[in-house]
Amino acid sequence: MSALTAPAPPQFQAPTPDELFNLPPIIPGVEWFTKPVLLAVLSAILVIGVTWAAFGNPKVVPRGVQNVVEYGYMFVRDQVARPFLGKDADRWMGLLLSLFFLVLVWNLSGVIPLAQFPVASHIAFPAVLAISIYVLKIYLGVKHQGGIGYFKNMMFPPGLPKFIYVLLAPIEFLSNMIIAPFTHAVRLFANMFAGHMLLAFFSMVGFWFLFEQLTPLGAPVGIIGVVMTIIFTAFEMFIQFLQAFLFAMLAAMYIGGALHPDH
């Protein structure tokens, strides 16, 4: 906030995380109704609407929206569900497809004009998804492998010397129980956070040097900023898609690991 009331010779100020991500409420006074909240709800409505338009009354011969969304379904089924869940894939497709579409739209809102804020860059949203998957993972693990069996399979992988289990079991436990869900959420959050910062930085460079303070020396810098903004927008779209895919893939991996104790 202090950047806006800068001292007399106006200088370029790089955007700080605080001003980019601590947004004021849209309606003053309603503390909770901020831009990410609005976008999150809109994204959920959009996902439901598009999916309903496609799958509400599915035809054996697809046309229109159904074709497009079915392509997404095929992608999730063949790239995410089947490699990690095998024959259980169809049972979990509902969850994985919802996850994938929701995360994808939350991410893509970062490059959609007017929205231009990736919902997933507020950690609450990835955390909710990751915690849901975490709870589901533990529930499934205990249900399918038994309470003791689950932790035994997790903490004591076979094929290691006996004495070293004492040293390794805490690592396994911490890795599976705390680090994995944490990184699951933070990977998505951090990618969106950093991507949004990059985009904001380059677009601000372009805006500042071409519109606010147009000088012969600064103009090329501004042009570079605009070009980089375009390049990074394309790159961000790729990253956003990739992160949605990875999020769904990791969810499938955790579910698969809970269903079948391997190793």
């Binding site: 094929g159 290691l160 070293i164 805490p170 911490l174 890795s175 994995a180």
Partner: protein, 71 residues
């Protein structure tokens, strides 16, 4: 799952599994043994156990990941 009859996609699945698990193992190893070292440091009023714990945790976690996933 026996080691003899493995299909290619299962290999790929295991590999992806390993790729996503290894960083988390390393972090967990550092956290556990670094944390133990840090507590020892506080208790004994020293500063040597924390780095030792960090390195020990990394080595142990790396050993675990290597033994677990490379078969």
């Amino acid at each position: 799952m026996s080691a003899q009859e493995r299909r290619p996609e299962e290999d790929g699945r295991d590999f992806a599994d390993a790729m996503w698990s290894i960083p988390s193992y390393l972090l967990a190893g550092m956290a556990v043994y670094g944390g133990i070292g840090w507590l020892l440091d506080r208790w004994l009023d020293m500063s040597a156990f924390f780095p030792i714990g960090i390195v020990l945790g990394l080595v142990l976690a790396g050993y675990l990941a290597y033994r677990k996933f490379s078969r």
